[in-house]
Symmetry: D2
Subunit: 510 residues, 4 copies
């Protein structure tokens, strides 16, 4: 029961210390009390370092790998990668956590309150301009996107934490009961943790995805091991230090950098009761097999948008299309991959406005930037295949960025849109090609006639991954027809519908 | 604990008997096993009789009153009215029930299952054509409406009972809990009964309103005394007998016929912990005072409908207007009292179609019939006052029914619509007059120009009672504007919106 | 729509200013940026002043009343009491708010987020030691209780506000829908505000009760007028200023000081759609009548505790009894008014331990202090009546406090316990006397034999007000028997059960 | 839209026909209107036949297999087994169903009501003695258990159907919404179907498991293919016919008999979006791999019971132990596999009473009967291995049944209990052996001393499958300790706790 005493001690003693520091934040120009580096100073000459955390201790590795700055190719970050022979402490740490978790409604309930306090403090920290700027800039360094987009990630994380202040963590553990058959009988339903769990997150949202998944797991009494894509793990490594500063017991989470093979071995040996994986379908399927189904997958999607017959607010709709397809250089899971335009929109200025907006994107402010999982060559090759489909044409983009120093292992492409006729998309020979997801600033555009809605619905039905979608219309019958005949994680409906930019308070119903 | 044993015994033994009888229902032309009369045979020469139920016994009275047949004035029903000096057994019966009720999650939980069984059996009984016909006809005899409208009442009652089959009653008693501050602590929230309660229901839905309110009270462990308007209490008296037949313990409900003064005295003496009153605002306010606030009121409303700027499906909308205003001779709480037409509708055939539909209503099939709370004279007088408002005119109706034998204590009016200009409605001198609710086949119609929506909203804001409303439009911005700026129990929205005809599964959010 | 723009402007601009100030809090020894006075400096020579707030402006009055310091009788606070002729601005302000409220799911939804932000900031303010000390001391000045008890009130308020950070306010407005009968039909259920409302709160929790009730009303879109008992309204007047500082629009709440007669007149004229009243049953019943039932009452209770047959942890149980009966000088709604001891407890040291604990209470640290609604004389007179009941005896206390300067309009009594035999309590002549609630450090103690539990349950059934109760036992059958046969707002069960000290996360299920 | 019209037609027309038939049920001694066989007449000379259902048609097969009567070895049932070359119609049928299902909140919502009606009628059918006897006897013929146990299965199925009468199916599709960031924005969460799904169920509950899983899938708009273990599929084949009789559209479900290899091939080709599998862990893991995780598993468990330190009601507890371990010959997923007795129970008559109760079980009334997945030899061999563990001993049973004609492919064992010392269970060499699940009348018994609870908890933590468990005690601290430190689908707590016999209203929280 040592932990309980310790955590209570924290709650009584820490605030004073913490508040003292928070005031310093406004006065001192130099450092944040939890951080071990400065976001803007990381460079080839002063590389940032990323450590592992296991059994409450930050550790290095016998094998440091090096990361190239996506903007100029400098070796700017060193990662302590855990090798296959070094996994034992992680396996042991995970195994220490019993299946009934670190807490549950019948065990250490004061920990629900502890996590309410941690969330309150961490949310407040992220609300401080100095702290939010630190994480915004750190995100930009490794996952190039505009300041506004990176700041949005920090703010969504802050709002998520605000949602679990006070008693809200314990309210998550709300149980229910119904009267039984006889006097003295009641049936109760409780939420129970899995105990030891693993969380594996991708490169595109270095802060938001791991924090939301990690905190959710912790709130309910699980002990997670967290692995973030090494390309961006520096962000979450610093966030772990902020959470410790806000009272997170250091032994509650392990944090690891490693390649996929090592992580796979670790999972096979430590055998967590659940693994939450966000990333490519290919890896997801392998994990499902290796872990015998004990895995939850947050996959990607070939996200579509349909413009309905009622044309309105062309300026606004063009702007949303540009944001959905090209913000974060198209590297959101929810990015618009294909646009189905009703013929009524063809006669408007929609496409030319989209082109103008795309032209305004530039490398200097990262409104367009490096693509981390496709090279320029690979994207151009895909484009050329598409352009061989009869009737296809390049609407705009389709060239490498000018005057850039992005290393060749990454991609550098202008925002690109390719028109492909609907009838061609539906042909068996073309369908797989056209609906291949390119995780970059790249979209397909097509048009449908008033009587071709069934063809569009057929194209949607044949897709494999369904994450987000948008039905841009205020016509209730059109909305009903499309929504009732499709399936998505989230469908945005209405004239102002989008595929991206969901607030922190929405739901993925898969 | 005798009751528990008894109720279990019922559950093991009764079904066989019941099922035997149910088969008889299909073969025998004569009688229902629970009923004490035949709906079609009640007449001046063979009057029906309505008894009281107290402490498990059906009782008469020293003072029988007589009811006139609303269609021909014959003395066709005799009611055993309880006088002020006879209330003692009712007071005692109610006082026997403790505040913690006949059951709660910690007391006699098997009674939740008992009520699941009663509901299952009663729902099945009402699904039998012979039984549903019996209640449909009985309703028609005392609360004249078309066969379809009266049958609808039986079916809604059946569906309500189906919703509480099996375990659904005990699911109503679902509780919740959250972890406490320390090991061993949890906070639980339970639903508890009031114990002794009273239910007072009006004439217009003789079966649906009392059954839904009574069963809801019983499910949660309350012991109700039920008083239905004597004009129609014969329906519920027979339904009580059906419920007993389906296993309702005879001591769980008392059933009383009396005048208001006697009932008031009874309530003051027995002091139920809650009274549920459905009826006129005038009585409601007196009860709120006498019972010092321990009363829940289901009041009426001056229900409005707005036709938006988008004209569509004029035939359908006219038909709904006719139904909303004139079905049950306008004697639904949710009947359309005023219609606000956007000017775009004025140039359509809407009003002439409404007139045609009104003309088709006739006394023979009760699509129009006696008005139980207003005389013909009173309604015509109200009409004449309205017609004095500048710009007002009679659209249709406005005359006494032809060739009827409705007794003069009741009303007999053709379906009537009066046009009043919007500007006049809003004037202080007219507003109270125009928005006076006439519980009969009577509505106000007005028109608003495109820029007059704020005036309409102002008219709605000034009303006192808000039960149902309809916004007839598929324009999302118009819907948002009207819904966001009004308040109603239920608002129906969409081109097919109505004010009446709610299914059994809707909610009154007041 | 001016308001919306304004509130958005606030959200973008205010945080910087606010955060700047918050840092000052740690450095400056002098003032809080929102406060208009210093809690410790209020005195006869430098009296505190309490203003009214109406239509966004702080206002004085033509008629200032004066409050006596409960500890020494000095005239230490001046209140701007609104007279009957000055109520017009308040009536107008309330009338401006429509029935559909300041916001609802279809109107100004951004205000849900605004209130999430206000809660986040106000919670953070209360977490700052300087601010929590300010309110703790201010509470102590007007509602004398120990520092710990007053601080607890501030902390519960802080936790409540934390529970509504981020999106939690909009989550309160969660609606639901179910599929309809036909394509295109759905039924939705929304939470709607009342619009103009009134809140009237008592003296004993000057911060917690008004803040919780006020914020709950505001979250859902209501516009409240708030009246706190003038004896303590200085606390909430300062809290209003803190809320404004945290972004509360100044026109969203009116704040009034007045006598009951004036308030009654105001309510009759402004006609709020709901009034939430916490206070004496006498006033509550009058309000229910005057407002025709449009009132929700949070009444008091004659709160009981039963010690079951299983004796354990006598020290702990004695301590809880002392806290429940005498903390805040017994002036909590949930204070223990009567203790039913199983005979097994009589042979333990329970009563002598309770006496020892009571003896340790002293005026210096306010562990016992002034009674604001009973004079010493009145309490002693009540005691003497009780002591005339056969078999009654004084267990401890029963005297005026020594060496105090509490003015004579207040009470000053040592913690007091009177033993009355169970059989005597149940007698008709005695029952009303024994169960009269004394809002002071005063409790009844009695004993029951193993076979007398039914008598105890009978005594509980006959009480009128049921707020909290405690069943001190770990015997599941005993717990079931008592819980299943009683009714309370909150029942605490288990060996460590108490009647007071509920956390912020509990429920009053009445 | 043909289906909608058809289903409405059904709803209007069918009841009359159905009710006519139901009355026949009481008069005719011969046949049920839906059934194609008589449960008691199936025999070697008149074998029952089981067909497949695909695309709305009942079909045979080119390859009929034969089942042995588990009581006498006669070839009594012929199964139309679908071969690998015959799966095409099934694949096509499943593929016809889109991902958005047969209905969803925006598509064919009238089907929610249709399923409410089907449930109402099917529940009523199962409540008829003739029908419930038919299914009870049919279950007994293929899955030998006592009449009471088989009848229990029918009744649980009936109650489940009652829970989804009326509107309860559409209530399952209840959605929610919260206000968005701006005017006009709301977030909605809906429940959506998977579309094409597969359900695979085991032999031990031939009616309850498939009906509950099938109806749940249908309610939400899925189109299932159902495969029940061929040993017992005759029960569900007849139930399908009852459901058609009650209005189930014949194309909504396909029903297949096949071996596992063929079913696996079908699943790989038809690619249902979810497969729900109940059965052995071995097959479950293979399916998880083959279906890449798109599978939900309802696995078995090595279910434990702990008797706590407080000895009480020895007769009752012995009786529950006998039921939990040996009812249905131990072939429930929830059967008690191991009993941990606190030393206080050893000195009672518990074990001798359990022996007496086991001795009363006999083949004639099927209180003990054939074991369908283990031969007698296999069970005795396992027993002998256990008896070699030091300190182990046979408590009772351990022999083949006398005078039986159970064919040798099945098992025939007397109810058996083996004592193994706790310390031996925990040894690595023994643990896997002792905790091997034997799906038959077989249990392990052990004892723990007052200070050995941690060892017991350790034994529980090491188990792999956790379905049900029982903590037999009324000591709140003991209950808290065990519940807080274990994990199970369902834990029964209290002196009357059991591992089996859950009512239809409970929850498996895995």
């Amino acid at each position: 029961m040592y932990r309980v005493v310790a955590s209570r001690a924290f709650r009584a003693g820490a605030p004073q210390k913490a508040f003292g520091c928070w005031c310093n934040l406004s006065r001192s120009a130099h450092t944040l009390p939890f951080a071990t580096l400065e976001a803007d100073e990381i460079s080839g000459s002063k590389p940032g370092e990323v450590y592992n955390l296991v059994q409450g201790k930050w550790t290095g590795s016998s094998n440091w790998s090096t990361l190239l700055d996506p903007l100029n190719g400098e070796q700017f970050i060193r990662i302590a990668e855990v090798g296959e022979k070094e996994i034992q402490p992680f396996v042991e740490s995970l195994s220490k956590c019993p299946k009934h978790g670190l807490h549950n409604p019948f065990k250490s309930p004061e920990r629900y309150l502890l996590y309410g306090d941690i969330s309150t403090k961490a949310a407040h920290m992220l609300s401080l301009p100095k702290v939010s700027n630190f994480f915004t800039r750190l995100i930009q360094r490794v996952s190039p996107k505009s300041y506004q987009q990176a700041l949005g990630e920090v703010q969504v994380t802050q709002k998520f934490l605000e949602n679990f202040c006070g008693d809200q963590v314990r309210f998550l553990a709300r149980s229910f009961a119904v009267p039984g058959n006889h006097l003295g009988q009641q049936s109760h339903g409780y939420r129970w943790p899995y105990g030891p769990v693993a969380i594996i997150t991708p490169f595109n949202f270095p802060l938001e995805i791991p924090v939301l998944q990690l905190m959710g797991a912790l709130y309910m009494g699980n002990k997670p091991i967290l692995k973030v894509d090494s390309k961006v793990s520096i962000v979450m490594e610093q966030m772990m230090r902020l959470l410790h500063y806000c009272g997170l017991p250091v032994e509650d989470v392990d944090f690891i950098n490693s390649d996929g093979k090592t992580m796979n071995k670790l999972l096979m040996e430590a055998n967590p009761r659940m693994t939450l994986f966000t990333g490519s379908s290919r890896v997801a399927e392998k994990l499902a097999v290796d872990l015998k189904g004990r895995v939850k997958l947050e996959d990607a999607g070939f996200d579509w948008k349909i413009l309905g017959p009622d044309v309105n607010e062309v300026d606004y709709v063009s702007w949303v299309c540009d944001q959905d397809a090209y913000a974060c250089s198209g590297q959101k899971c929810s990015a618009q991959s294909v646009l189905f335009m009703h013929e009524n929109w063809s006669s408007t200025s929609l496409l030319s406005k989209m082109k103008d907006l795309a032209d305004r994107r530039k490398l200097e402010d990262l409104t367009v930037g490096p693509v981390l999982t496709f090279t320029t060559e690979a994207m151009l090759e895909h484009m050329n295949k598409l352009l061989k489909v009869p009737g296809s044409k390049l609407l705009f983009g389709g060239e490498e960025l000018k005057n850039h120093s992005i290393p060749s292992i990454y991609g550098a492409l202008k925002p690109t849109a390719i028109f492909v006729p609907l009838e061609e998309i539906l042909k068996d020979g073309n369908y797989e090609l056209v609906t291949r997801e390119i995780f970059g600033p790249f979209q397909i555009v097509t048009e449908y006639k008033q009587d071709q809605l069934p063809l569009v619905l057929n194209a949607l039905e044949r897709m494999h991954a369904h994450l987000t979608a948008a039905v841009v219309s205020n016509d209730p019958l059109f909305l009903q027809e499309v929504i009732g005949n499709t399936v998505n994680g989230t469908t945005y409906a209405g004239l102002r519908a989008r595929t991206t930019g969901a607030p922190q308070n929405h739901w993925w119903v898969k």
